[in-house]
Symmetry: D3
Subunit: 287 residues, 6 copies
């Protein structure tokens, strides 16, 4: 079962909201290479697991972590959409040319359906599709599905990194890229244990992104999200919790999951989005 | 962010595996009225929330709980599919009539794609679709979306209850029906606070299912899944944590989330599903 | 069975065609909170109804009305797309920068696939999906599904209202918003009859849109679309045809359906859309 | 705009309910060759029409008729599902073999999601998809899309006819097959007017179904669903309202739309479907 | 079975890359009227064919040709996307207004998911859907489905032709338009053989596109893609290989398939797309 | 561009048609792990390739081969469906119990929509979805996507092998399993060249299927489908055309593509499927 903490796994800051970037971020939420997919994929693989036990445990830990990544990205989308609210009405009413620019690049459903909120969809508004959740009953096939998801996911994250010059967004993405590095290492570690090759000196995919731009302190840490007090889940000596990382670039270590970010505070609803009056009046209040 | 416990929120027992019932249970996992939908819907509503704060907190608590319900149901599907494995080959090879029966009622992808595991799809194998996740930016509209989801969801659970005479499955469903009772009450409580009517004496939908068949000890408990040690999240005196329940049938109370079930143990993989040799050899081992 | 009148239920005028606004309007046609969904949802609920009779009758009446709303919106899209046709070729051939602007904001399929016509899709071109049509067999669950559809639908209509300063479009939307007010009242009236609370003084959702901007003369009228001469369908004394409205703001009344608009006349096809020669030559002719 | 009559366009009788046949009928409701598709396709083509006027009028007439066909088929599904209700619980609880048969052949969502009602989906439960609604802006391309829809639709109807020996169902299908004959003739008539060939002596597709099994009195009648009192819509002398039919087999004639069936009365809800108590108690009442 | 040649069926040249046009071209790849659909549709009709033999053969020939058209269009998309790569980072980092223009009109997934490559999706990024592949078991119904596909497909191609002033793109489209002319003639020829009318003097749809803009040398040629040395597949005297074309405008002839284009050479990957280092370093090399 | 041969790449024989097995085979045609997906995935990766050249060439060769696999499977489905035609009418009319069995296990659309033909859909009738076609612009990510596709695809093929005792079907599947062995080796060979590990002694996934049941003579052969006479495409000394196979079990060799099967001959159409009369009369004729 599952628990949560209102604090985020990592900081989400947006210096200058950008609704177009919000649209691009949707790919990492609801796209085929996005975080809802990996969250559900790892959890379904865990829940369907018929052994060995240690792989089930690991999949539960990481599937749970991925839900925190969805949270980071949805928060980032909501923050970037705040750029769509200031003066939206004026811009549109006063000048149809402006509407072309505003509506041209942002996802219109972010305003029309979400009232400036994120959706379970990709960068084109195509909904998340459960067919992408692969749980095959064969652990090696599943691990290749996972490496593939993290490889295309890390490629996506590096492309998002290139698309923005917002320092807050680059910081958040450097964390997500680092976690993708770890997760690629994890799945390869299972494959190695299963006799699927020797992966030493393999750089995480894509290998053209300089690792010094990722948040390296998170690149080789197995995040243990298990809080069962009855189980000494730390220190069980797994291939992915200690020893040299699969890619040979560092040492694995294990850490109990904890928030590096704060509880997010979004701005108030935009008037033209027609939230309830009670939301508009009490948006900033603590209770 | 999120954490997990390997124990289940409630017991999952299957006395006599039934692959046809596994297919029916898929509707409660990946169908439009299923648990993946409510899990993501409540979490997206929380993450997109621009206030008031107490609704965001409540949505996070309950969205997190719903993920545990997906876990219960996936486990139940996997256990029911064990009925498909014993002697599957013999049945099919020896007698095409048997194949009609075995393949006719079960979802063929449970074997072909899942190796006897659950999928993120409905009872017809139609994949979960992210368009069902409603987060409108208007709290009252969202609450009606939530009442609707829990009403159709509770109707589904009572129909599944009628479809089985397996005592373990009836027990699990009595828990899920009780939780749907609570969640209907919760969303109506928010609507009441927002001035949307007086809902006293309203029976949870459907009102034709006898409440003495639901696990009543869970029917009016707000499950608090927040484990942040910095926050006194229990005892904040909300409309849904104390006082008379909205339907007037009981008193609300609040409880810190905890497992009432155990860590699940699925049977070993079926030989004809062609898991890896390492899975077949080490399925029952602890590590 | 069904009949039609070539005249529209309400006026559709576009003062200054705007292809970007055409794209936004698609959400109200083929989106999850759009009119195809409510049309089919109410009709399927009626057709599947096993009683009581009065709810079946009411659902048929309103489901039929919703098809007229699809017609209004498709007409509005087609009229707004006429802005895409004048000089389209020159703009594109002469200046790629212009293409960015024209194609950036409009739905490219409005031209490519529709030849400047509307589609059964949402504002991102994602097709209408039949899974959104909820007919659960439980009348209370269905009514909550209907309140939810009308709440998110009215929120959408108010957001579209904010996005345009075209007087014709604002007028059409003020009518649709008023009808959503009535329909929210209707479904709540059924819930009240079924013992689901006391909804007095509940403002239609969203309550932040000033009701004096809606076409109030249509806000509390039950539109009876039944033309069976054998049945005195007017004056049957239902909760939604007389007495105080559920929201306490007015009196319900009933009216036989009739057109307040005219038969629409779209402009001729754009040359670059390559209609048949016979269409281009005879577009304006009566026959 | 649109009106309705509670009576059906044609009789729907089911002598012996058959849930498996209900599943097959879904293909004609929500499948790619089904009636929702042609209804929306003809209406979108009409609404998007930029002339000539007479094609727009004809498309409106026939699109409106198709909605009545959806109604016939949904009613037929609901009636066939009544076979699933009698003793469903006993069958399932007492004997898992029976569950295989009951759940194996019927669509499980007809019970689980619909409470014994039809869905906007095909025979496999795959939802209706708006992408199938073709409105291209080119009248000849649209007419070929319509001939194709009616050809595959008539093939489907003849296959359904072969699958049942229920006299009521065969009667209903003989009507639908006849209407498909007329509609194929209509679209070919437009193509002929547009200079697209000479279609004399062309048998409706499929030509292997004996026309004496179709309800021939409806095979060459243009059904005029327009009830505008201001317009003499009958007797306008169109190629599809008088003269020899395109296939050379009969004479076209025109008829004002009228019901040949009665208002349908479905059986009461099945207890195990958990409708509301108010539905179960008042199912048979007039009001 | 199938074979390939690295050379293209026709030349693909892009004088000035235009990512917006790349997005529009996607409709002809993965849209409902696109080339993946006709490729699979003709091949499924052939593979499912139960005779007559000559139609099966013809469908195989043309289905195989259509795959070459997908190849032309994907190549054209990839070439047009090269406009998105030069200086993309600078534009975005330096100036958010530029990002609006670049991201507003192009498909963001062309960069985010494809690294400047085409997708199996339409102009809105909606994925290709297998439901569009019609193979009905009735040859006449299938032929109408094919005429419809080629009519809407040719309309699409002429609209794309209008949208560009790139001489290379116009040249490629003039070839595809010519092939659509031939394929419309082919399917009508089968209908004529089956007794479905006399199609003399019928202009290919749309008839408003001047045929002197199509590559007329390819407009009436049946392209025989069969390379089986055991079969004299040329010269079998079919209605679509010799004699007057169905539309009466020319003479049919038959030709063994051969490439009129060269092996395509795309530009190197854009640095910001984070291909592997090995791709970036060796992009231009022969091996 | 592409060519074809009417002969199949391998033999397709069905000793005893089995419509239920036809349904299961659909997963290998239109499912996420099916052959349409890998065909399009490899071709899109090739067409989008910006180098190195040798990977582009290899992807074209194998993507072309996969289309031949779709052909094998569609042929197998059509042959297995012949079991549904003999006496279908009698069975259904005479005995509703039989309809349960016939319609329960087979895909009803195989008869209703296909007239006993295959569809572009999975084993539940869910249509093929273009989102599954991964072409990321990063060669290593693409190769992992390919290994994953071939691993889940080979698992599927081995499960289908277990589901049938038809010697013809087992033979065909032994060929497809062997080709999946080769293709796993190929993609791993590219990864090895790119520095992604040492894969010696890795058994193809799943490793629990005994390789002596696969058609081993095809397990390590690179099938070269390129027929360009200008290019010496054989003998170019690639890692996947000579030397020890990646899994260390054999030697790679290369072979020009050629048919090992014959031109398929399906049985005549079933009368109740209502093909055209011309199909029924001339089904067996050569021309």
């Amino acid at each position: 079962m599952f628990y949560h903490d209102k604090k985020l796994q990592y900081k989400v800051r947006v210096e200058k909201p950008n609704p177009q970037f919000a649209r691009a971020l949707q790919q990492a939420i609801g796209g085929i290479e996005g975080e809802i997919r990996v969250c559900l994929q790892y959890l379904f693989q865990a829940w369907n697991s018929r052994g060995p036990q240690r792989y089930r445990d690991m999949l539960l830990d990481t599937g749970t972590e991925e839900m925190a990544h969805v949270e980071l990205l949805v928060t980032a989308v909501a923050m970037n959409l705040e750029g769509a609210s200031s003066g939206l009405v004026d811009e549109i009413i006063g000048n149809n040319t402006m509407m072309k620019e505003v509506m041209g690049g942002m996802d219109p459903r972010h305003f029309l359906s979400g009232g400036l909120g994120a959706m379970a969809a990709d960068a084109n508004g195509v909904p998340f599709n459960g067919s992408w959740v692969v749980s095959s009953g064969n652990i090696a096939a599943d691990m290749y599905a996972n490496v593939m998801a993290e490889s295309t996911g890390r490629a996506l994250a590096t492309r998002l990194y290139e698309l923005t010059d917002d320092a807050g967004m680059k910081d958040m993405l450097s964390f997500l890229i680092a976690r993708d590095t770890m997760h690629q290492n994890q799945w390869l570690a299972v494959l190695e244990e299963l006799g699927h090759g020797d992966m030493r000196n393999v750089h995480p995919i894509p290998n053209s992104f300089p690792q010094d731009k990722e948040a390296k302190e998170f690149s080789y840490v197995f995040v243990n999200t298990n809080i069962d007090p009855d189980e000494p889940s730390i220190g069980q000596n797994r291939r992915w919790t200690q020893g040299q990382s699969i890619d040979g670039k560092s040492q694995f270590r294990e850490e109990k999951a904890k928030p590096y970010g704060q509880e997010p505070k979004l701005g108030p609803p935009a008037a033209e989005g027609h939230a309830q009056v009670e939301q508009l009046q009490h948006a900033g209040e603590k209770v």
